[in-house]
């Protein structure tokens, strides 16, 4: 029997029972739909988180020093020289002050750092320019706002119009040097204005201390971030005679961590969630497959005379087996295709509610599900295998029917 004949016979048999075929594949549709929906949403969440943390999140180490005074830029630079695996380390200071324009006053959260911060955090410039090394050296009164900050202070003014304006921060006037896309993940919430200013400006003018309390280190691309973190901690412990890294007290003084661990944790939670979904979908597919087998067995019983006729007309066992198996595979693939379409539709429909239910820190953008081609391919493969496995027994039963008994079947 030629493949084209097989395909024609299969189509003819399935289309003769459209209603029943449609009901039979429901289990498969739901199973595959659930997998595609969850995979797409989880992939969307992962991508959104990568965007939220920035492209370099997995390479960034944060060091907080709680009990070390007079930690200078020189001390910071010795870490880069002593601990292998760093491209650079920059200081980070955090401060709070009131910020005001002629018409508006708000609380401000200021991050003081170096220009390389923009690079390590993949911060994009929207208008104006980034502050420079020179601003750093001279502790210039300049700052960067983000679009949310501009909106908070000036209402619906274009970011470019805010550039060059003066704002009062604490007791001094500051020049808005540039507008970036986002200072941090909390920018869009509440009335607090988040800004970034040169480290020296923040530490000297706002904090009144030059001792570095927090640093961010960018590791080399080929460095093992966990090893670098451990080495950094060890170096600081040794250098300041703080004892062992296992010492709980010492760990409070020197705290080293990275967004990678957060990302790993989130990814691990997502993977666990995905595994649960795969198991649930697997169960659904087995139930769907049993539905297909049941329908195929009913089909064999209803078509016993047809099977007998085909055998009388020259059909071999293989011809009968392949026809029934192909019917089963086609049903499963049809279920898979509808499942994929349903899954894509459901992913877009549920992305918003599910994204917020799962506690995702939003980037301000609505969650966009990512439709992965390989998931679709896998769905089709899984359906083919399901069709093969659950269609095999009915097909074998059909092929083994006695032609005489089949022809005489009432």
């Amino acid at each position: 029997m030629k493949p084209s004949d097989l395909a024609h016979e299969t189509w003819s048999a399935l289309s003769a029972n459209r209603g029943r075929s449609a009901l039979t594949i429901l289990g498969i549709v739901i199973g595959i739909g659930a997998v595609i929906t969850m995979n797409s949403i989880i992939a969307g969440i992962s991508v959104q988180q990568s965007q939220m943390f920035g492209a370099n999140a997995a390479r960034l180490i944060t060091v907080r020093l709680a009990g070390i005074d007079n930690f200078t830029v020189d001390d910071m630079n010795t870490i880069v020289e002593s601990v292998p695996g760093y491209d650079y380390i920059i200081p980070v200071a955090s401060g709070a002050a009131d910020i005001s324009t002629e018409t508006k006053k708000a609380s401000a959260d200021i991050t003081g750092t170096e220009p390389r911060y923009f690079d390590s955090h993949s911060t994009k410039l929207v208008a104006g320019e980034f502050f420079t090394e020179r601003d750093m050296l001279e502790a210039d009164r300049v700052l960067m706002l983000d679009e949310y900050g501009v909106k908070n202070l000036y209402g619906s003014v274009a970011p470019s119009e805010a550039v060059g304006k003066s704002v009062r921060l604490g007791n001094d006037e500051y020049l808005i040097k540039g507008i970036v896309d986002k200072v941090n993940s909390w920018s869009m919430y509440g009335d607090t204005v988040y800004c970034i200013a040169p480290y020296s400006t923040v530490s000297i003018r706002l904090m009144g201390s030059t001792s570095i309390k927090q640093m961010e280190g960018m590791t080399s691309e080929d460095a093992n971030i966990d090893v670098v973190m451990e080495s950094t901690k060890q170096y600081l412990m040794d250098h300041y005679h703080l004892g062992s890294t296992d010492d709980e007290n010492a760990s409070r003084i020197v705290h080293v961590d990275s967004d990678k661990s957060i990302l790993d944790q989130v990814n691990s939670s997502m993977a666990s969630f995905q595994s649960i979904m795969v198991i649930v979908s697997g169960i659904s597919l087995v139930v769907g497959g049993i539905g297909i087998m049941n329908m195929m067995l009913t089909n064999v019983t209803e078509r016993i005379r047809e099977i007998g006729l085909r055998k009388a007309l020259g059909a071999k066992r293989f011809d009968i087996t392949s026809q029934f198996i192909l019917e089963s595979i086609c049903l499963c693939i049809a279920g898979g295709v509808f499942g994929v379409l349903l899954g894509i539709g459901a992913a877009f429909a549920l992305a918003g509610p599910m994204g917020s239910t799962m506690g995702v820190m939003s980037t301000g953008e609505p969650l966009t599900p990512i439709i992965d081609g390989s998931s679709i391919l896998n769905a089709v493969l899984v359906c083919t295998v399901t069709g093969l496995v659950f269609g095999w027994y009915p097909a074998r039963r059909a092929a083994r029917l006695d032609p005489v008994e089949s022809l005489n079947h009432q």
């Binding site: 030629k2 006729l309 085909r310 055998k311 009388a312 020259g314 005489n408």
Partner: protein
């Protein structure tokens, strides 16, 4: 080329069941030369269907030999038997056995999908077979369940002809038809026989057998020629008359 299209020697078919053994055929010997139109006639339960199944390669004899065009069918595997059926046999059933969901053309071409006949040739063969049975071309795209009984049987005969078989086996081909349609169908078989087709019809109907070249009778799994059957009937009638006479005297 074998002398006989069909050559069955001392064929027995015994069924085994929980109740014991049942002999459906008891030493059947039958030879059909090429081009003969044979009618096997017998009452219900005489072994007609069992004989048809064995002649059609749907079943195997318990003992004895059966050759189709010189090929010993006893030893063939299921798939080899299927190949023989597909290439050398044409079946016509009492209930037509057409696929309702398929068109007339697809029904007629069905035996060819299990052979190596190229697709391009299948349609022309189906057209030819349908023209032989005289079904108007308007019906070729109709589904089989849109046809009358006579038309369906013509389609079934066309399907039996399409693979140009060595033997056409028909089981009660007029059993489901009215007398006028039966005559049309039997006329068709007679025409095919005239064209040199070897035909075996199995029936209980003497009128159907009147169309054949030869009739053999089957009774209790045994075959009898016309003469033997007549002698048996006459002997039975005499015996019956004797019994009646004795009853009259008493």
């Amino acid at each position: 080329m074998a002398k006989y299209v069909l050559d069955a020697q001392n064929v027995h078919r015994i069924y085994e069941s929980a109740a014991g053994y049942t002999a459906a055929l008891r030493g059947v010997t039958l030879q059909v030369p090429r081009g003969e139109f044979l009618c096997v006639m017998g009452p219900s339960g005489s072994g007609k269907s069992t004989l048809m199944n064995i002649l059609g390669g749907l079943d195997r004899p318990t003992s004895g030999t059966y050759k189709l065009e010189g090929v010993l069918m006893n030893d063939l595997t299921d798939d080899e038997l299927a190949e023989m059926r597909g290439q050398r046999l044409g079946f016509v059933f009492q209930r037509y056995n057409l696929l309702e969901r398929a068109t007339v053309m697809r029904n007629v071409m069905m035996p060819l999908i299990y052979t190596d006949v190229p697709k391009s040739e299948r349609e022309s063969r189906a057209y030819k077979a349908l023209r032989v049975v005289g079904l108007p071309e308007d019906y070729y795209d109709h589904r089989s369940n849109e046809l009358s009984g006579g038309q369906m049987q013509r389609v079934a005969i066309a399907r039996a002809l399409v693979n140009n078989p060595a033997l056409i086996l028909a089981d009660e081909p007029t059993g489901a038809l009215d007398s006028a349609t039966s005559e049309l169908v039997m006329n068709l078989f007679a025409n095919l026989a005239e064209q040199g087709k070897t035909i075996v019809i199995i029936t209980h109907d003497p009128e159907t057998c009147a169309w054949g070249d030869r009739t053999v009778h089957i009774r209790d799994g045994r075959l009898f020629s016309d003469e033997e059957e007549r002698a048996l009937v006459e002997a039975a009638l005499k015996s019956h008359a004797g019994v009646q006479a004795r009853r009259g005297n008493t």
